[in-house]
Structure formats: structure tokens, C-alpha cells
Amino acid sequence: MDVVMNILNFISGNILQDPPILIALIAMIGLIVQKKPFAEIIKGSLSAAFGMVILTAGVNMLTAEVSNINTAVQTKMGVAVSKGLSDATFTAKFGSAVGIAMFLALVIHLLIARFTPIKSIFLTGHMLWWVPFVIVAGGVESGLRGPVLIVVSAILAAVYFSVAPWILRKYVWAATGDDSFLIGHPTTILSLISGFVAKYVGNKEHSTEDLKIPKGLSFFSEISISGGLVMFVVDLIVGMIAPTLVPQGGNLFMVAVTAGLNFGGGLLILLYGVRLLVNQIIPAFQGISEKLVPGAKPAFDIPILFNYKPNAVIIGFISAFITSTILVLIANVTNVFGIVLVPMVITSFFECGGAAIIGEGQGGVRGAVIGTAIASIFMIALVGFSGALMGHTIRNWILIFGGNDLSLWAIIAKFVGALFGGI
């Protein structure tokens, strides 16, 4: 008996505490279910684990840059820099809870598709990890721990995986003229706002795709380049206001250059990790779901929409980035959220690019521009509130990747968790 107990303890204490190994196990189960050859099972499971390791390294590079800015500004303002749980320690401590919640959420999500009218299958690989990640963080902030934390998080994540793509379906189908797939991406809340506004203010007569967009603007669609440039400028400005950003004997220009390069490089690493992970997990999950729920609609990542209206994406990015950066400046000067926000490159590009396509589908050029601008006001409100609430867990992460469903569901998780307070 002792041997069995020891093995179980080792599994729960070590194996399940390690996200890359967990992800590898999930990929392995998927590949075994599909009766793949042995060599492919080994290759696929290991690639999924490498993907998770690489993705985490990319995220760490990105959050380190934002964390430097925040520390410098907090020091300048005389705010005590928060110690204790932070982005890095959160994953170390609660990564296993996220992994197990993810696995349970996938099972519940498939059951929802099988037994309810909501027939969506969520196939955006990296979001299968990030959604439970923010929900667990919200739960931890509310004081939940242990099995209750995992079960509550799994249920919330499953509801998200099923309901979000389904709510957005009519807008997506209007934009693509194709009802064969859904969108499973944290743009949902922003796209709903954009589509709703665009319908009232827009005019479908004028399409974004009839416009001639100058070729010179196309480098904006290289997210690593626009992200790196923005970070360089942000560091220059922050360094002038908060001199502690520059270490003793260094100079601001070089600090800013390094920060920009690290941010752009971190983004490329993140994308590479996502690719490795997604290409292993998704075909497996799709294979399982096709057997269980024939005829369900797959929900894909947002770039699949970008092919339909490439001009709308660039217009939406510019509209959202300008609107939201002005709001970031106002929020930081007035200190309305009590935290320092940074301009939101990634969310402006992916989430608001998607929101622009939905806006264009409802109201042409004007719909895309105004709808996305209004959505980006909500983006800043969401990132500000969620960032303020997540001070002990994933604040720096939220400041980069939030302002969307991820922020919204972190907030929802915190409030739902509070209902279970004291269990």
C-alpha cells in the first residue's frame, strides 16, 4: 500500500505541479485516443511540452519589461513595490491548478456541446490554457484554494469555451458570409461592443476593402515590430519621468533600445511556443470532438478572420491604438485605477483587429472605425479594473494581454470566488 501511496503522492506533488508535463500528458492522451503510431505519440507529447516551456519563456520576457516600468514608476511615486505573489511565482505555485482546471474544463465543455443546444468546440489552443489561467488567478485573489478553486475555475472556463463563440456567431457569419466556423478568442466582449455600435452609426455601402491602404503601413501587421517600437518609446518616456528605470552608470537610450528588442523578441518566442503547442493539441481535440459531437461548429483563433478583411484589421489597429493610448495617458496622469497602464499593442492588434472586422460587417468603414474606437474605451476600463484587482497574482501579465475577455473573466472569477469565501 505504501508504494501505491508514494506513487500517487509523487504524481500529485510533482508531475501535476508542472505545466509542461501536464500539457504533454494531455497531448499524449489525445494522440493515443486517435491511435497514432508510437513515434508520433512521443514526438507530439514532447513537442507540446517544449511549446509550453518556450511559451512561458516568451511571456517571462514580456512581463519583465512591463515589470521594470512599473517598479520605476512606483518607486518615483513612493508606492511600496508589492512583494509576495507575482506573475512568476503565481505560475510556479498555481500552475498545476490551472492545468487540472483546464483538463476538467475541456471535459465539461465537450459535455455542453454534446447535451445542450450550444454546439461550439473551442479550438484556439493557447487560449485553452490562458482562460483557466486568468480564472484561477481571480479565484486565488478572492481567497479560494485547493479543490474548490479547481472545480469553480473549471466550470467557469467551460462556460466561457462554450458560450463566448456562440454569442458572437451571428456577427462572425455576417462578416464572413460563411457559417461553417465560429471565433474562439478573447475579442468576444470587444467585438460585441464594436458590432453593436457599428450597426447604429455605420453604413454598409462603403467597405474597408475598397480603400487603398498604403503598402508602407503593412509592417504594422508584424506584431513583433510594432510591439518593439512601442515599448522603446514607452521606456524613453517613463525613463524621463522615473529615472530609476536606468541602472547606475547606464543611459536611457540604450535601456529603451534593449527593452524594445526584448519585447519584440519575447513576442516571437511566445508565438513559436504557441505554434508548437497548438499543432499538437488541436488536431487531437478535434478528432475527439468529431467522434463525440458530430456537426458541432469549430471555434478558431482570430487570425482566420483577418483573411476576409485585411484592410479592416489595419484600420482597426490604428483606430484602437490611438484611442486607447490617449486614454492610457489620461488614466496614468489622473491615477484613476491606482496602477500604471502601458499602451496595449497586442490587444489593439488581435482583439481590436477582430472587432474592426465585426464592425465592418455591421457598418462598413465608419462602423469599423467608430465601433473599434468605442470598444477600445472598454478595453482600457477592463484592463484598469482587472489590473487593480490582480495585484497579488498576474497584474503585469494582465497589463500586456488583458483589456478583453481575459480581464473580464478574471474579474468575474474574483466575484464568483468571493461567493464561496470562507469554504
Partner: protein, 95 residues
């Protein structure tokens, strides 16, 4: 034969395109491997034929002399099938 599905980031749409291509390859009963990747990697990757979006076609054209087929609807098996059949026909005439 090696088929490459290409999109901007190599994570979302190229994977969908790969899944559709896999189904078509199976239907036509041809011996081919299908891989998917991002545009930057694709430019440095050799393949017999490339499938991508209309916006990336030009960019890919600068890196390879092999045939490139732009696809509008990645989920549309008929569109992908027509393109792949066209490629196979071209190959026949060239040999």
C-alpha cells in the same frame, strides 16, 4: 510530395487550412505530407506547392518559384480541392 499551408502567424488559419488539406489529400488518395507554418519560416522552407491567403501570396512569391495557390475560405473543402486538383493537372502536363 510536400504541401505547405502558410499564414501570417502560423498558429490559427494555417492550421485550419492544413486540416482541410489533410481531408482533401485523403479523399484524392494522393501520397503527400501537409505541414503548416508562418510566412517567415515558409520563405525558407522547401515544398512542392504552397497554399496561403490572397494577401500573403505576393510576399511568398518573392521566395519561391514553386506554384502558390491563394485560398479564400480555409474551411471550404471544395475550394481547396479544386486548387489541389489544378496543381496535380499542371504537374501532369509539365512532365
Amino acid at each position: 510530395m510536400k504541401i505547405l499551408a502558410v499564414c501570417g502567424f502560423g498558429v490559427g488559419s494555417s492550421m485550419v487550412l492544413k486540416m482541410t488539406l489533410d481531408k482533401v489529400v485523403k479523399e484524392l488518395g494522393i501520397d503527400a505530407t501537409v505541414e503548416n507554418t508562418d510566412i517567415a519560416t515558409a520563405k525558407a522552407t522547401k515544398a512542392d506547392v504552397y497554399f496561403t491567403s490572397h494577401e500573403l501570396e505576393e510576399s511568398l512569391r518573392t521566395a519561391t518559384s514553386q506554384p502558390i495557390y491563394p485560398i479564400k475560405k480555409y474551411m471550404d473543402k471544395d475550394e481547396v480541392k479544386a486548387a489541389l486538383e489544378d496543381y496535380l493537372k499542371q504537374k501532369e502536363t509539365n512532365n
